[in-house]
């Protein structure tokens, strides 16, 4: 067993371990924003480690360069994807807070910032059908 093969096996074990931990975290973590912490290491650490293991096993050459490019693409794409998912979740939280549809799904619990439309929705001149009159 050469040193290169040993390095490849170590990198491969680390990568598969990170990916398995991410899968477990995706199933276990309850909140949507916590689940993003499961996605990000898988894309920016797990897959690049596996691909780097393949590059170390392949040895210097064009194939290793292609594998390094795959690792780079996976890391960059994973970061961008995680940010996009977080932004979509944030947008959905904002819309749910606006419409008052909080708590419709079990794990969708945005922080209770303020109830919708309770702080001064009515202008001083009287708004809508006055309920007392």
């Amino acid at each position: 067993m050469s040193v290169r093969h040993l390095c490849a096996v170590v990198l491969l074990l680390a990568g598969v371990g990170v990916l398995a931990l991410s899968a477990v975290a995706l199933l276990v973590l309850p909140r949507p924003y916590a689940r993003l912490h499961a996605l990000s290491p898988a894309a920016s650490l797990g897959t690049p480690l596996v691909v780097l293991a393949a590059a170390a096993e392949t040895g210097p050459g064009r194939a290793a360069l292609k594998l390094l490019f795959i690792a780079l693409l996976s890391a960059a794409g994973g970061a961008v994807t995680t940010m996009a998912l977080a932004r979509a979740q944030l947008r959905a939280d904002g819309a749910a807070r606006r419409t008052g549809a909080v708590g419709r799904s079990p794990d969708h619990t945005p922080p209770p910032v303020r109830p919708p439309d309770s702080p001064s929705p009515s202008p001083p001149g009287g708004e809508g059908a006055a309920p007392g009159t």
Binding site: A20, V50, A54, L67, I70, S74, L85, Q89, E127, G128
Partner: protein, 160 residues
């Protein structure tokens, strides 16, 4: 069994199967997160499979998955339902039904669509944009120009 074959098996059973199971349940955002993990794992799996089976051409498929996976995820994240979670009919909003606040600005600078920026002063001009609060002062019925969405429990009853 070599280390690469063991890695392929571990990725298939230990990562891809739970992630695929997570794709099939939960809310839309949960499913999309699981789909992202599935795409990431597929790239690693294809690379490991190329090493395990000594077929370097599988690496090209992994390269394609690494390129197209984030693109698909970005598209799905863009087209997620914005308002009520998991409403089956609300797919990718077209340009006409997009909320006017979040339509124009580029990625990263769009404000939240529900942040009412004009609590009291801009009330007459914001009657079209804030449907539940834009009633005429004397009428109890909403105006005809209101868009159909967002007729939730807002200030339609006068707000006490």
């Amino acid at each position: 069994m070599t280390a690469w074959q063991g890695a392929v098996l571990a990725l298939l059973v230990g990562v891809l199967a739970p992630a695929t199971a997570a794709v099939c349940r939960g809310t839309a955002h949960h499913r999309l997160a699981a789909l992202s993990l599935t795409s990431t794992t597929a790239t690693a799996l294809l690379v490991a499979l190329a090493q395990a089976s000594a077929r370097p051409s599988y690496t090209d498929v992994a390269l394609l998955a690494a390129v197209l996976g984030p693109v698909g995820m970005l598209t799905f994240a863009r087209c997620l339902p914005q308002g009520a979670e998991d409403t089956p009919g609300t797919d990718c909003p077209g340009p006409a039904e997009r909320p006017p606040d979040g339509a124009g600005p580029p990625l990263g600078s769009a404000p939240l669509p529900g942040t009412d920026r004009s609590p009291g002063a801009g009330r007459p001009t914001a009657a079209g944009r804030l449907p539940g609060a834009g009633h005429p002062p004397g009428a109890g019925q909403p105006s005809d120009a209101e868009p159909p969405f967002d007729a939730g429990p807002s200030a339609s009853d006068g707000g006490a």
